[in-house]
Amino acid sequence: MDIAYRESKLEQTVLEPLRRTSWQFYVVIGVLGIVFAWGVVLLVRQWILGLGVTGLGRPIYWGIYLTNFVFFIGISHAGTLISAILRVTQAEWRRPITRIAEAITFFALILGLLQIWFDMGRPERVYYPFIWGRFQSPFLWDFTCIGVYLLSSTLYLYLPMVPDLARMRDHMADSPAWRRWLYGFLSFGWHGGHEQHRRLEKAIGIMAILIIPIAVSVHTVVSWIFGMTMQPMWHSTILGPYFVVGAIFSGIAMLFVFMTLIRKAWHLEQWIGPKQYDYLGLLLLVMSAFWAYFTFAEYLTTGYGTLVHEAEVLQAKISGEYAPWFWTMVVLNLIVPFAILLWRKGRTPVGTFIASLSIVIGMWIERFTIVAPSLTRPSLGFEHAIYAPTITEVAITAGSVAFFAILFLLFFKIFPAISVWEVEEGEEIKAIQRKVEELVHQGAV
């Protein structure tokens, strides 16, 4: 411990998980590890035997893995919205949660891309699109946009970490050598001078603005994988904006889930407080309304029209075998959030956690009801097909979620969960504002 350096309460709390690991942490990682291993075993079995181990068949060639892909890429919009949009609009209450949001974005993108690999019939040929890529295919648009987004969100996670990394490099003498080396390497000689800080903030500001259209492009091209085909209820012009709205919606919800868990586990209650839950809760409510509006517009338009094939798919979702999924989704995405979050009393950590978990599950179901039903009623269909997912698909999904959680938790064992310098900056700004108000009140200014 550097004797001359006094750690603030914030630093002490935030750095505690980096210094000590509780037995509960090992239990959590252990349980997640078992689920992850289960997923890996069944994935390897799928690689050996073939995709026949799934519930897919003709004409339902896409199912759970594509659902997971869209779901995870959607979750990755957490960072974009919270960190970028709130930064651009100078919403001060974002400061303690930006790092969690940016980390969710990063790992969600990786898990999303992995789902496509899991879905491939010849996984060893995964590099083929990077040699023989054909740009007319929406998959290539995906690689372009998701590639840029991956680079951008990595930078956007990394940049605001640098001042904190430098601080840990300088003052965390009690951490093991490899950690000190890592912090030193990653902080690239950061000295915190006035000009350097100015450049960093400028770069962060540029990234915040750039990453918004990049993120919008990502989920738009993901939707166009479905939208560019002629399948009933896939070929919809609203799909692009609909997916973006859904992504932001599910992203905030996932952020809430992880934010609340980390806050509880690592005692961050003092910095992630009622204000964050109140405002984010309202944001979630707004996104729920947005999502409901898009859904209603889509279904009303489809239902009012008389196109035969679309009507069959719509019927499958509203009153057919997909009705339980569809209506559960409506309850989870609209009814539960409004019931809890409309009232200030509901926008507490517990209330928002329940609402967010409900939305996360509801949005996964939403992606599922987009992918599967259209394929069960092909336009030249001679009968309705049935998709019954197998244990392989369940295990790989569960393993993916476990992997996401493991990566996230391990990341915050090495790097602080709250951006210390940004929260301190926020407190300085508040102090200055208070001082200025005081002076105005005294008539001195």
Partner: protein, 228 residues
């Protein structure tokens, strides 16, 4: 260069399924077995499908032999990320099994469901193994790739080679796919749609002629002659 097309006369077809069987024997598609068939994994490049129209009691049923439609504007080709499926200069939509990554985007883009996927490594019972077509172009495909009707492109290649070996010009009538050759009711016709004298061109212009889902804009090259 020819533009290969097919005409199927629904008045003459009585759904004997010989075309389906002939296609399997010619192209080495694997039998799925009862369990896999139940899970919709059968691979039949040509299928005879019941096509029901109307509502009870005013129902009409047709049997529609359905090979790949070999569209001139193929949505499957548009979405392939690696050009594993492509349309050649003669209008045949083909699959390069060595290039296919098994993403199944093409299977999902096809509005006719003519594309099939190898869910497992294909297997044949002992009795059928001796009857596999030895032509290397139809060698059994590996698991994880997409396959479909090729209008028996291996027969086209063989016919061209034979014509060259015998020193005579290749004519469009020199080759027919296995389904056309086998058809018991002589309901299937095949030929060059770009040749106005050919039988398929004339039949395709018949007032009885229609194509499946023309409103999709896929420009299929399989024409059907209406029943009755």
């Amino acid at each position: 260069m020819a533009r290969w097309g097919m005409v199927i006369d629904l008045d003459k077809c009585f759904a004997c399924q010989s075309c389906t069987a002939a296609c399997r024997m010619e192209n080495n598609t694997p039998p799925a077995g009862p369990d896999q068939s139940h899970r919709d994994r059968t691979i039949l490049w040509n299928e005879v499908r019941p096509f029901v129209e109307g509502e009870y009691p005013n129902v009409t049923m047709t049997f529609l032999p359905r090979p790949c439609q070999h569209c001139d504007n193929p949505p499957c080709v548009h979405v392939c990320p690696v050009k594993a499926t492509y349309i050649n200069e003669e209008g045949l939509v083909l699959v390069d099994y060595d290039r296919c990554i098994g993403c199944r985007f093409c299977t999902v883009a096809c509005p006719y469901q003519v594309r099939y996927f190898n869910w497992y490594q294909p297997e044949w019972p002992e009795e059928l193994k001796e009857h596999l077509n030895p032509d290397p172009e139809v060698a059994p495909r590996p698991k994880g790739v997409v396959e479909k009707c090729t209008f028996c492109v291996q027969r086209l290649r063989k016919a061209r080679e034979e014509a060259e070996a015998e020193g005579r010009p290749f004519q469009a009538t020199d080759f027919v796919p296995a389904c056309v050759q086998t058809c018991t009711g002589h309901a299937r016709y095949f030929g060059d749609l770009d040749d106005p004298e050919s039988l398929v061109s004339q039949l395709a212009a018949s007032p009885r002629a229609f194509r499946l889902q023309e409103e999709m804009g896929t420009q299929p090259k399989v024409y059907y002659l209406k029943q009755g």
